[in-house]
Symmetry: C2
Subunit: 318 residues, 2 copies
């Protein structure tokens, strides 16, 4: 049995617990948190290093903004880890830091896994490698963006908000047809916002602030719908997501080839956690061959994600 | 530059030549054949072992029925190789043989790559590993099956034939919806046959022989259309293919997740060859770290397929 610890018990941490229950070769031994959790396996994060001999792989379930940049390098001193660091622009810097510590301390870390970065990264590299005369397109949604929802909630007068990223069916169909279009940000996705106002708040002013918000909304066609707190609870309690990576390329005398990989997820955190757990299995195997240091999904053979033996996979799945 | 040799110059070998032209880090140095080819790089297959120091990786483009079972083990003594051995039931046996020779002779081989086996194998293992409470479905087509076309051509009175494997849209939609259906062979695919008769041949008898042929057609709904040789040349000269792997699974309290990977290929041999060439790059890198022996696609990190450095991939594609 692979003994796993979870660090952080939000949506992703709870998803990891569920994913471990689906894995017959794994057991959860501790859930570490700064908070006092109502959980039979709860342990304080302070003093976690005493668990070194009792945990094979640690699943880091904190956020990328502040938790992981601090916790990753700290915990990689003592533990083999897997995480979902997803601030794309800062991945090289995070990787370098984790790699230096993991090599120095003889630990294995897999960083930035999940589905994007993660499975979608695999597909972009696969497309680019197999069809170098080609173009990749990534579409996200329809799904809830936590970051965009949070940005709306920070506006004065907003009580609650939920933002859906919606891919343009028209843009996807143009890509699917092999047309190889140049697509602007506005053409690829639209943004739907559902907002609960505080009493007496100015709806017009808030709608304007959302639509003009730089980086988050100003480059998109954005719709804002005001709803009640009851409607929010009834219609927007789930965290669905998904998306699709297309790669479209040519060989020979203009023969066209299309590759695409899609996800349709009822629960973004439960699926992301399932990917983390599969990579935790790979971490355990990389430890066995002393392949220390940081790895991304691009460095890990996919056969290592499976509980099945290499021989069984060749017989039944290749 | 990675120096490549091609063994066998049929459709796949010609596709490999085109794929090498699209790869800036590779050059073709020889095309080996038992036949005397009209090609500037033509070399006799006899005496190929003299090319050991001049070829980094050999692309084996022979067929799985008789060429590869003989050529693979012979050539893996002297060369690092990549092949598309695709008789699924015999892959474990072929792998064992290639592995023993490659380890003994300190060569690297990647066997059974292409798209199925190959990229589709990756997707089946990925789905099964990430969502263990789930089911995978593979659909092929619409595309030309060489094996089924050949089987029809062997019937007395048949001058030429082309067989298309066609996936059932209805079955794919049921899978896509998350229904998790049990699908019989007959429900998943149909088979369309286009046949040119020899003069005076008995169309009724031939149609009957095709539809009742065990293993190939008897378990499918098969249509047979008789056409002229001119129609065959005009409408059926290309070798398109494709297919889709679905994996459908559950987490937690019945949250459903769907993953799918699809290919739509104008030219089956040109795309298959493009996959082989990307894996040839991986072979070259596995040699550099002395990771001798046979590998399937499941054993090779996807980052090794790319001409880009690991650092560049982390910056631009993860």
């Amino acid at each position: 049995m692979i003994r796993l610890g979870i660090v952080g018990y939000g949506n992703l941490g709870r998803g990891a617990e569920l994913a471990i229950q689906n894995s017959e070769d794994m057991e959860l031994v501790a859930v570490f948190s700064r908070r006092n959790l109502d959980h039979p396996l709860s342990q304080p994060l302070d003093g976690i290093e005493q668990w070194r001999s009792k945990v094979d792989v640690l699943i880091l379930c904190g956020g990328s903004a502040t938790d992981l940049p601090e916790q990753g390098p700290l915990l990689a001193q003592w533990f083999h880890t897997v995480d979902s660091f997803d601030t794309h622009a800062r991945i090289p810097e995070y990787f370098e830091k984790m790699d230096a510590i993991s090599r120095g301390c003889e630990t294995v870390s897999v960083v930035s896994t999940g589905w994007d970065p993660g499975l979608f990264s695999l597909m972009r590299v696969l497309g680019d490698s197999v069809l170098p005369k080609g173009t990749s397109y990534t579409f996200w949604g329809r799904g809830v963006s936590q970051g965009h929802s949070d940005a709306i909630r920070r506006i004065a007068g907003v009580k609650d908000a939920r933002q859906y990223t919606v891919p343009s069916e028209d843009a996807m169909n143009r890509v699917r047809s092999g047309e190889n279009p140049e697509l602007s940000t506005r053409e690829k996705h639209t943004r739907e916002c559902y907002v609960v106002l505080e009493e007496g708040a100015d709806a017009d002013r808030i709608q304007h602030e959302i639509k003009e918000m730089p980086n988050y909304f100003s480059d998109y066609d954005t719709t804002v719908t005001f709803i009640t707190q009851q409607e929010m609870a009834r219609d927007h309690a789930e965290l669905p997501h998904g998306g699709r990576v297309f790669h479209s390329g040519l060989t020979g005398e203009g023969q066209h080839h299309g590759m695409d990989f899609g996800l349709k997820l009822d629960s973004n955190p439960e699926f992301t956690a399932s990917v983390l757990i599969a990579y935790a299995r790979a971490v355990h195997r990389l430890v066995a061959v002393r392949d220390y240091g940081a790895h991304t999904v691009l460095d890990v053979p996919l056969g290592l994600l499976s509980p099945r033996t290499a021989d069984e996979l060749r017989r039944s799945m290749v």
